[in-house]
């Protein structure tokens, strides 16, 4: 208890008169007090000069982060696309007649747009891209960029409205293709070792924006 009081006292806390009396009357306390003062004084000179990490931080910040924003419709369309692909896959391998055990391919004349016609064809997605021209070029291959605006001057972020081309089926598959291409992008670029994709814990229930964060790691 006495040591805690002395510790407090050297930080300017506690009852000054009580401590002064204690230090006067008890040589052991006085010695402890003087030792702590010396120790504290030496400790206060032990700051180490930090290296300047500014350039490294800014470089990593620029290269390693691509931020996507998408609307709830994007997730809905992706879900529809996945369900459709699964449906088509299982449909193809379903035996057509009793006694036939080998899978049969669907006829080319069949309508391929199962379950997809309900999708509204005019949906746009809004994607914010941070300083990544390669990624933009991939997106451009699958759709027409119809609008472009700079978000904040001196900031590398920009945002585009993307309207995929083609019919409803193509629009739906577009989202899956983009996802595949992003995976391929990571594999193809020599400098890149791998990537992690972070999705929000829960998808938004309304039309507000959500974020996907892709961290890309250099070799």
């Amino acid at each position: 208890m006495m040591k805690e009081k002395i510790s407090k006292y050297i930080d300017g806390e506690g009852n000054k008169e009580e401590l002064e009396k204690l230090l006067k009357e008890d040589p052991e306390s006085k010695e402890y007090f003087e030792q702590l003062l010396l120790m504290k004084s030496t400790l206060s000179e032990m700051n180490v000069q930090s290296p300047d990490v500014l350039n490294k931080v800014l470089e990593k910040d620029k290269k390693h982060k691509i931020v996507f924003r998408y609307r709830f419709a994007f997730a809905s369309l992706l879900a529809v696309a996945i369900v459709s692909v699964l449906f088509l896959t299982f449909y193809n391998f379903k035996p057509q007649e009793k006694g036939i055990t080998t899978p049969q391919l669907r006829s080319d004349t069949q309508n391929p747009s199962f379950g997809i016609t309900a999708v509204k064809p005019e949906i746009n997605i809004s994607i914010g891209v941070r300083d990544d021209e390669i990624l933009l070029s991939i997106l451009e291959r699958h759709g027409t960029i119809t609008g472009s605006s700079v978000e904040g001057k001196g900031n590398d972020e920009f945002q585009d409205e993307l309207q995929p081309e083609g019919n409803a089926t193509q629009k739906v598959l577009y989202y899956k293709i983009v996802a595949n291409e992003i995976s391929q992008l990571v594999k193809d670029i020599e400098k890149i070792k791998g990537a992690t994709i972070t999705l929000p814990e829960a998808l938004p229930q309304d039309d507000t924006e959500a974020e996907i964060i892709i961290n890309i790691y250099e070799k």
Binding site: I6, L38, M39, T42, V48, S50, V53
Partner: protein, 176 residues
């Protein structure tokens, strides 16, 4: 640029604000990490990662805590993650290696303190770093460590006593 303005501009991703922010806090955060990790390489990596995380999460900063407190917490969480990662790949059994050289810029007195600090637990070193090396108040330290002011007071007293005992064994007070 004032702190409030820096934070607002950071939320918009402004590069100049990022520069100001790193320059303003790198020395403080470096020392906080260094005194716990005691390794320059780990410290520099963690320092960079701390700023990257700060840029990422700044939009969630509501100003309820002091920005220093907020950044310090990010730094300590990043350091813990780094230790876990190193343990996971068996790089270090103990995150603090015995082989780490004593900081080259220290004189004899400081070298003894450095050695004494090495014998303290992480929690003891942390609180001494915050109060005695960085000069934070009990209240600020309590917020950073997410504990009560009374806990800071008693933990600091015990940590100081422990450090004093260690440096006493190394004749620190005889050299003055």
């Amino acid at each position: 640029m004032e702190e409030k303005e820096i934070i607002e501009r950071l939320k918009k991703g402004d590069i100049t604000a990022k520069e100001c922010f790193v320059r303003e806090y790198q020395n403080l955060i470096f020392n906080a990490i260094f005194q716990v990790s005691r390794d320059r390489v780990i410290t520099e990596d963690v320092l960079q990662e701390t700023f990257l995380r700060a840029f990422k999460y700044i939009k969630g900063f509501k100003g309820e805590a002091n920005i220093t407190t907020w950044l310090y917490r990010i730094a300590m969480n990043t350091l813990k993650d780094e230790f876990k990662k190193r343990k996971a790949v068996n790089m270090l059994d103990n995150p603090i290696s015995e082989d780490i050289p004593i900081e080259y810029s220290f004189d004899e007195k400081k070298k003894i303190i450095w050695e004494g600090l090495k014998r303290l637990s992480e929690n003891e070193r942390e609180i001494i770093t915050l109060v005695d090396i960085r000069g934070f108040s009990y209240e600020e330290t309590a917020k950073m460590l997410d504990v009560l002011v009374g806990t800071v007071r008693s933990r600091l007293a015990r940590s100081r006593e422990h450090l004093r005992d260690e440096i006493l064994k190394m004749d620190f007070f005889d050299k003055i």
